[in-house]
Symmetry: C2
Subunit: 196 residues, 2 copies
Amino acid sequence: MPRHKGDHDARRRDVSAAVWRVLAAHGFGGLTLRAVATEMGATTGLLTHYFPSKKDLVAHALTLLDERRAGRPDRPAPDGLGALRAMLLDILPSTPRAAADNRIWVGSWDAALADPDLAAGHAARYAGSRERIRQHVRTAQSLGELPPADPDDVAAAVQSFALGLIVQALFAPDEFPPERQTRLLDGYLATLAGDR
Amino acid sequence: MPRHKGDHDARRRDVSAAVWRVLAAHGFGGLTLRAVATEMGATTGLLTHYFPSKKDLVAHALTLLDERRAGRPDRPAPDGLGALRAMLLDILPSTPRAAADNRIWVGSWDAALADPDLAAGHAARYAGSRERIRQHVRTAQSLGELPPADPDDVAAAVQSFALGLIVQALFAPDEFPPERQTRLLDGYLATLAGDR
């Protein structure tokens, strides 16, 4: 029954768009079945057909973010330190869209820390991100761009720097315009490389 | 009427304790007047006498955290890099209490990013924290412990590192036990200083 399946998918896309609008306006704390239903002009009953609980809505919102990120083309970059820099520039909130995505990621931490399943999902996401950073670090070390040091620790440090810069830039966008974000990132990578 | 004032203060302390318990169990997303009233065995009506809206509750919870932090004695430390290290060790989630406090700070970001007044409060808190870091950085530079570099940028970078490490440690406490947090911090300060 392809037609019915298509309707279902189209309706899930409508729901997704409404979830985005609610998150942008009110954050995860304001993400309720009722708020999404109101945003769509639908009933809560219809919505629960697609998402039985608030937790399903939150999980769906996070899946959307994963898909958005995975769907973005990689910035062309050389291997090693250049690839690491490109990866981090893609994460930082230096465009309105990246700021909106990051605002939702940061906003999801409260709900995730209160729910073991969501927390495990986030822990896995950040472990995966550290693993990608670690691969770039190892390549950079093999190219002599970074000094030898435990790549796991370097990856954890790099991710710390990026996450904390995101949080500060979201709260103080005027103090952290895109060019300062880039300057701070380049300064950090230079200290890691030992050139200052 | 000192007696009446005392009753009021005692009741506010009861409310505060209930707010803590709700936050620890459910995060800011679960912080509702009804949840706090239930936790206290009181009516929502009584609670609204002290906190007319959810926003007042959130603001009160953040004030409690500020007071807890301000009430902690400073770790004795020399000036400069040692003082910076001591300040950061006090922030990191390396004890159960520090982890609980950080969990609440991180959880508050969702609500704060959805509300201009709360966001302004957080922006001011982080600006104040960067200013304290900057003073330590300037002292460390004057002592020759850190190379000359824009102290504002160094302070923003240090705060980035600390905030991001907090977030990762909250989601993956087993991968970021206290001794690894300390090692990562010391590694970061060493790269800043240029000794590796």
